[in-house]
Amino acid sequence: MSNLLSLSDYLPEMILLGVILIAIVMDLVPATKRFTKGFILVGLILVAAFLYQGDTSASSLFMGMSAHDPFGTFFKWLFIIATFFVVLIAKYDDGMDQSIAAEFNILLLIVMFGLFLMATATNLVMVYLAIETVSISSYILAGMLRNDIKSNEASLKYVIFGAFASGLMLYGFSWLYGLSGSTDLTIIRDVLMTQEGPVFVVYISILMVLVGIGYKLSMVPFHYWTPDVYEGAPTPLTAYLSVAPKAAGLALMIRFFTMTFTDGAGETVANVDWTVLIAVLSAITMTVGNLLALRQENVKRLFAFSSIAHAGYMLMVIPVISTDSSAAIMFYLVPYLFMNLGAFFVAIAVSNHTGSYDLAGWKGLGKRTPLLAALMVIFLVSLTGLPPTAGFIGKVYLFSVLIKHQQFYWLAVVAVINSVIALFYYFRIVREMYFTDSDDTEPLRPHPILTWSIISCVIPVLVLGLYWSPVIDWVTASLKMF
């Protein structure tokens, strides 16, 4: 579609841009300064309303740059929910610098805009632009606590790793462009299909593209930034980073690999065996994440490694070239969003009381604040993947893909062993909460909005564990890609 016509399918993004600009100006005018956060929340609801209104057909926008399809829309919903929760909660984290709260929210919206682009990009140039929009805003957000030396460290490490990963990815893009003479993903596929002779060049470009996407997913061996950035960044941002950019990275990976590196009939393009590569990387990712999480004493670092392990679980099904694997990942992301956000929100509530994120601060929480402790247990049970929570159903779908297509049985075995390892460190938190006593017996009093956000995160985790067919229907309807 031509540029001007495309705008009619681009209403949510345009409204989001308008909200960003108006929010910047609102924060500058003293009279409207205190309404900024409310305006952003209303704006997000407006974006959601227009996303709901948008048509469900699949079309190509801006002359092949970007796609408008149910697949992208599914991910956009996840981004909106995550951003809404984080904007809502950010004010109630005592570690946040309140003088820059508006900037924090606005930068989050810019990240969200980048995520929208990432989930719909169908052109190499657009892929790179989207990843950079997300990354550059995230670098600033990670260093948002200017006077906190850990936050400075997080930002710097994030920038250096990010720059290096983007550089390698761009180099891979240049190989793809050199091979095909086009930046359009489908045209590149058509050229790769006609490829005869050595496929060495295709191997290199796939590897390089994997570096850029793997960095966003914190896939091993590109995970080194994750614990430090998660620890130093403001906690609401940590919660956001562990959910939204990861979902966008997976969306981009599914789209990129199905559009470019498969032939459309369940085979890899040009006989390049990238499926085995991703299977091995996924096994390493989940094992490294889980093993390193075992001895963490800082809750934020623990969840950083846990998020690496979860990236490994989701990558597990990508080697199976089928729509089943995209469906399993998309289904898993829904409970993952709620349980990870919820767990981080409980961590915020605890650290508001203790002033740190040490695991020792959780001692005796079961007696001091039974409600928070009980909610945390539900999140942890779901993160481990035990019934009757949504995390269990998500894991079942992931495993069933491998079993159904009778490929990579060994990967399923590795994942099961990893789930058992994960049980150990998640239940270390439970042990601290229920089986150790603390000198501090004062109950926690989190702000009501924080409490209600945690409760509204727990509802989907429990409900989807018992009745998940609406979500699976939604996922199946969203599989249509342009």
């Binding site: 600009l21 910047i24 100006v25 610098d97 606590l145 006077n147 906190d148 030396i149 050199g178």
Partner: protein, 141 residues
């Protein structure tokens, strides 16, 4: 498809040869004496540099540089726009106004946040490394 890369290889080879040739030629014809004094100065016919250039710059210079970029980019985009304006008409006008609006929002941000002043009077130090600094500044005047 590999032969498509042949021009690149030829290009690189000629480039390397040319660079090597220049080194050889200059070592043959350059004078082998009188390499001191003025010849080795940074600017042969200008100011004598004082001290090293490797010093810490005030961070405010970077803010100024960033603000400069806002307007520099704006002006650079306005030139080609002005050239083709007649043939594009209203669409070009609306597009450029949206672009300018976004930049004006950035300009307003810089202005209100006091980044156009060299001495930032409105700066507030949060808790952390510089909280002692804030206490000192409050007591001094």
């Amino acid at each position: 498809m590999y032969q498509n890369f042949a021009p690149i290889i030829i290009f690189v080879t000629i480039g390397l040869l040319l660079a090597g040739a220049l080194f050889i030629v200059q070592s043959l014809i350059s004078p082998k004496f009188n390499k001191g004094g003025e010849k080795l100065a940074t600017y042969e016919c200008g100011e004598v540099p004082e001290g090293s250039a490797w010093i810490k710059f005030n961070i405010r210079f970077y803010v100024i540089a960033l603000v400069f970029i806002i307007f520099d980019v704006e002006v650079i985009f306005l030139y080609p726009w002005a050239v083709v304006y007649k043939s594009l008409g209203l669409v070009a006008f609306v597009e450029m106004m949206i672009f300018l609006l976004i930049l004006v929002a950035g300009f307003a941000y810089v202005w209100v946040k006091d980044d156009l002043n060299w001495v930032k009077l409105s700066v507030k130090y949060g808790k952390g490394r510089y909280s002692e600094l804030a206490a000192k500044e409050e007591s001094s005047p």
